[in-house]
């Protein structure tokens, strides 16, 4: 579904942040992108949702080489990808409901058509009573859940989340991870960037480990390829 081949990435004329990155992401899989802060996790995600273009190498999304995809087809590609930004990027002047409905509205669907879906999803993430609230009035965890709801509302084929547990307490982090896991069970490929080792160790999923610009694929301990996530029994420290 997603294929990186010898991808290199530098910002402007700066140093190469990613070097010869090669990996594949299959439909319905679950991956972590790990590495120290500054290792290039966010950069890798940006390449995946077309916010940056690689300096060299090949990136193929949904079977299409993005270098040769016509400009007018890119919005359609983007609509198949849900992104949870590290800083949420909610629109402060819109309500929670409108923020979450945004991808559907942009896809040209009618408000009457999607109202129930959006409300149901917001209830599912525990925000059923905050539909009309504006983002500035929400807590960090609430914003995080709005951002996630917006990323998944259009049932994307691929969900990218950048440090989705970075701003919340461990308990909330776990709840959000369960949410991603559920989505994954419904067929969405999930890629989560995190520098939280403990979080990665809790789950059996393929790890894309970034170090010194190089990427290593570390298979999860579960099924071959580590496509499904299985929460482990909690260790007592």
């Amino acid at each position: 579904m997603i294929r990186f081949e010898n991808v290199g990435m530098r910002y402007g004329s700066g140093p190469e942040i990613l070097r010869d990155v090669t990996f594949m992401i299959n439909p319905g899989s679950f991956h972590f992108v790990t590495g120290a802060s500054g290792a290039g996790k966010s950069t890798l995600l940006k390449l995946m949702f077309l916010a940056e273009r690689p300096s060299r190498g090949l990136i193929s999304l949904f079977g299409e080489d993005i270098a040769t995809t016509p400009y007018e087809n890119l919005p359609q590609v983007r609509r198949r990808i849900g992104v949870v930004y590290q800083d949420f990027r909610l629109l402060d002047h819109l309500s929670v409901y409108e923020n979450v409905a945004l991808p559907l509205r942009i896809a040209g669907r009618k408000p009457n058509d999607y109202r129930d879906d959006v409300e149901e999803l917001l209830i599912w993430v525990g925000l059923g009573d905050r539909l009309k609230a504006k983002p500035p009035t929400l807590s960090g965890g609430e914003k995080q859940r709005v951002a996630i709801a917006r990323a998944v509302v259009a049932k994307p084929d691929l969900l990218l989340a950048d440090e989705p547990t970075g701003n919340v307490d461990p308990e909330m982090g776990l709840r959000l991870m369960r949410l991603f896991s559920q989505l994954n069970h419904f067929g969405t490929s999930v890629v989560i960037a995190t520098h939280d080792r403990a979080l990665v160790d809790r789950f059996e999923a393929t790890e894309l480990r970034l170090d010194q610009g190089q990427l290593r694929v570390i298979a999860g301990k579960g099924e071959a390829g580590g496509t499904k996530i299985k929460p482990r029994k909690e260790h007592k420290a």
């Binding site: 949702f49 077309l50 916010a51 940056e52 273009r53 007018e72 919005p75 359609q76 590609v77 983007r78 609509r79 992104v83 990027r89 629109l91 002047h93 819109l94 309500s95 409901y97 409108e98 409905a101 945004l102 991808p103 509205r105 942009i106 896809a107 408000p111 999607y114 109202r115 539909l131 009309k132 504006k134 917006r150």
Partner: protein
């Protein structure tokens, strides 16, 4: 702030009246100037066209003064030629008294003027709608009658239409300058808006919005702004023109200067002001669209 409902139809860009108000005011001033230019140019070119039209249907044959027997013969001959020419509705000898009164402003009412030899004039009215070869006619008249000259007021009409044409071009130039300045202001404001709402634009872009969808959000805003400014400008221009019309009308009556045309744009002039908000809205909308599309084209 927009009222947000569950309908999902809230504007995707926050409406911030306070930041658009100065631009609306500035555009309204431009529209006011454009409306005045438009109405004045219509007014002046109509006046010039009226004069030119009044002159174009007529011509005059001038016969040199001569002894009365000779001149009678000349008059007879000229009238014959003219009446035999197709396209001439009438040819009338202007009486001596009439000729004298025409010359009076130049000669005054001096005694003894009566004894001066007077040229005789024959007034020609052409059939409206027919084209008479006045050059050939003039040559024929001059050949048949020595000293006879056909005056088609051509020089006057050329001067008038040249003046009207130059005026029209000048007005178009001024209107184009105003339009360019308005477009410049809109480009400036659109870029500022893109910068202010960069975060929103990026989110829309990465959620899969097409450039034209994002542009339409800006477009709609500038269309309304242009419309508001255009209506304001046109209304104030109409008021100005109306006051001017009444004032010049009163002045003409008070001074008895009837030859002064009242400065009236006429119904057509007033109606043409409707073009101002329409053009302002169109210019603002298209400029905003092109500006946004150009900016978005640079996004990854």
């Amino acid at each position: 702030m927009a009222e947000t409902t569950n309908g999902g139809a809230a504007p995707l860009l926050p409406t911030d009246r306070r930041t658009t108000l100065p631009l609306t005011a500035m555009m309204a001033v431009m529209c006011y100037l454009a409306a005045l230019t438009l109405a004045l140019s219509i007014m002046l070119s109509e006046t010039a066209a009226d004069w030119s039209r009044g002159l174009s249907g007529t011509a005059t044959v001038q016969l040199m003064p001569a002894e009365s027997k000779v001149i009678d013969e000349h008059i007879q001959k000229t009238l014959e030629i003219l009446r035999a020419t197709p396209g001439i509705a009438s040819a009338r000898l202007v009486s001596e008294a009439e000729t004298r009164s025409l010359l009076e402003p130049w000669l005054g009412t001096l005694s003894g003027v009566d004894d001066l030899p007077m040229p005789r004039l024959i007034a020609i009215a052409f059939d409206p709608g027919t084209v008479v070869d006045t050059n050939a006619l003039g040559e024929r008249v001059s050949a048949a009658v020595p000293g006879a000259m056909l005056d088609t007021h051509q020089a006057w009409r050329e001067t008038l239409s040249g003046f009207a044409g130059a005026l029209a071009w000048f007005a178009y130039g001024v209107l184009a300058l105003i339009a360019a300045a308005a477009a410049g202001a809109v480009i400036f404001a659109t870029r500022a808006g893109l910068l202010t709402h960069q975060e929103i634009v990026e989110v829309l872009h990465f959620v899969g919005a097409r450039d034209s969808f994002i542009a339409s959000e800006f477009q709609r805003r500038f269309l309304i702004l242009g419309l508001e400014a255009g209506v304001l400008g046109a209304v104030f221009a109409a008021i100005t023109l109306f006051v001017g019309e009444i004032a010049t009308g009163a002045m003409a009556t008070n001074t008895g200067a009837n030859y002064l045309p009242a400065l009236s744009p006429g119904l057509g002039g007033y109606l043409s002001l409707v073009l101002v908000p329409a053009m302002a809205a169109l210019i603002a909308m298209l400029t905003a669209r092109v500006t946004v599309l150009a900016a978005l084209g640079r996004m990854p």
